[in-house]
């Protein structure tokens, strides 16, 4: 299922937690791991002078500099590289999100692994809002699932065995479900199908009675059953659950309470158009807050 993993890294501490997951997965699933780093952004189009993403200095690009950066990456991951089997370091120049997507098209990985936001520095080329904009752009356009480790705490699971799939019954969610079910079957995972009933924004100005909420929960459970139960053959252990609240909080809470080691959600395409590269705000918040890795699926 994971033969090729593209780990997009800034090769700094900010992505160390994602690195733990990437190296661990590569080892556990015997995958080839591409360690991909964008070293600099050209100061002008096609310029040989680039702004180094780590030092923030302008440097003249030549083979020697690229080799030096590769060596730096090797040093940064010395410990992991000792035990890793099939790894390849790749360095590129350009805008990080574009280069990561280009690499994804060329290398055709089964999964892209990324860290969350990088550092506090306002001048970082990765920039960040709630989740880094590099991440937002990659997640939106990636040809394969994107696994994100934002909180350090999310990186200590050592593999996947208990998956929470968060659904909002959208078409995008169906694609994410396909991936979740395949993953659960291939890796013999427990699978939780979870829907959060949004009682925050939808009914502004009106407070639902608990009877109304629980009627809606029942409806949603029936919907989950109707939509997903036929595909549950071959899944050893599964649960259907609906909780009311603020969706992203409920997903994070549900995953925590059930000790999930992975959350799978659709990258939300509703309400996004044109240049708007934001992830759906729910998955964005889940990525930021989750205590386990989150896989975002956009197609």
């Amino acid at each position: 299922m994971f033969k090729k993993i593209l780990f997009a890294t800034s090769a700094t501490e900010a992505t160390d937690h994602a690195a733990r997951v990437a190296f661990n997965m590569a080892q556990a699933y015997d995958a080839q791991l591409f360690i991909f780093h964008v070293l600099g952004v050209p100061t002008r189009g096609y310029s040989q002078v680039v702004l180094d993403v780590k030092t923030k200095e302008e440097v003249v690009l030549d083979d020697e500099y690229v080799a030096w950066v590769e060596e730096e990456i090797k040093t940064h991951y010395t410990k992991q590289l000792e035990t890793a089997q099939k790894t390849e370091i790749k360095v590129a120049i350009g805008f990080p999100h574009r280069e990561i997507l280009r690499a994804a098209r060329e290398l055709k990985p089964d999964l892209i692994v990324m860290g969350g936001s990088t550092g506090e520095n306002e001048d970082s080329v990765y920039k960040k809002s709630l989740v880094g904009s590099t991440l937002q752009r990659v997640a939106k356009a990636a040809p394969c699932p994107v696994l994100v480790v934002n909180r350090p705490a999310a990186s200590f699971w050592g593999g996947m065995s208990n998956i929470v799939f968060g659904t909002d019954f959208s078409k995008a969610s169906d694609a994410a479900f396909k991936f979740a079910i395949k993953l659960a079957k291939t890796l013999a995972c427990e699978l939780h199908i979870f829907h959060a009933l949004d009682i925050g924004s939808v009914h502004t100005g009106r407070i639902l009675t608990q009877d109304e909420i629980e009627t809606k929960i029942r409806e949603s459970l029936r919907r989950i059953r109707g939509r997903y139960l036929p595909d549950m053959d071959g899944i050893g252990d599964y649960n259907f659950e609906v909780w009311e609240g603020i969706p992203y909080i409920e997903v994070v809470k549900y995953a925590r309470e059930n000790h999930a080691d992975l959350i799978v959600m659709a990258h939300h395409t509703q309400k996004t158009s044109g240049e708007d590269t934001r992830l759906g705000s729910n998955i964005e918040q889940v990525i930021v807050r989750a205590g386990c890795p989150v896989i975002s699926i956009n197609r």
Binding site: R151, A153, F156, W157, G158, G159, N162, R256, H259, G291
Partner: protein, 117 residues
């Protein structure tokens, strides 16, 4: 006498913790991985568990998940002791997180408070 289960793949840490706890009036048992830890825990029902995060095979958070599914084990307090940074919230319901190298007095204080002795 209160019983502490030490789950850690590093024999040096097990040695160190065993001596530390036994010198301070606790009995100890040790397990080197998650599987062994669960088997011993079920048999011995310890009063407290110290848990490492990264171990070969399964990792600490999964030990916690499995023990919380066991009726006899789910209320046993867990102290996470790990050499990895950023693991503070890796086991959300642990009573404490200590990163190696840790202060022995701090650990003993937490153990004492947790066990209420």
């Amino acid at each position: 006498m209160k019983k502490i289960l030490i789950v850690d793949d590093d024999p040096n840490i097990i040695d160190y913790l065993t001596t530390l706890f036994e010198d301070n009036g606790y009995t100890t048992i040790a397990a080197h991985d998650v599987q062994e830890g669960l088997e011993i825990a079920k048999k011995e029902i310890p009063d407290l568990i110290t848990l490492d995060l990264e171990m070969p095979e399964e990792w600490g958070p999964r030990f916690y998940r499995k023990m919380s599914q066991e009726k006899s084990l789910k209320n046993i307090p867990v102290i996470v002791i790990s050499g990895l940074s950023g693991g503070d919230h890796a086991v959300g319901k642990a009573v404490a997180f200590l990163s190696k190298p840790f202060d022995r007095d701090e650990l003993l204080k937490i153990v004492k408070e947790t066990l209420n002795v």
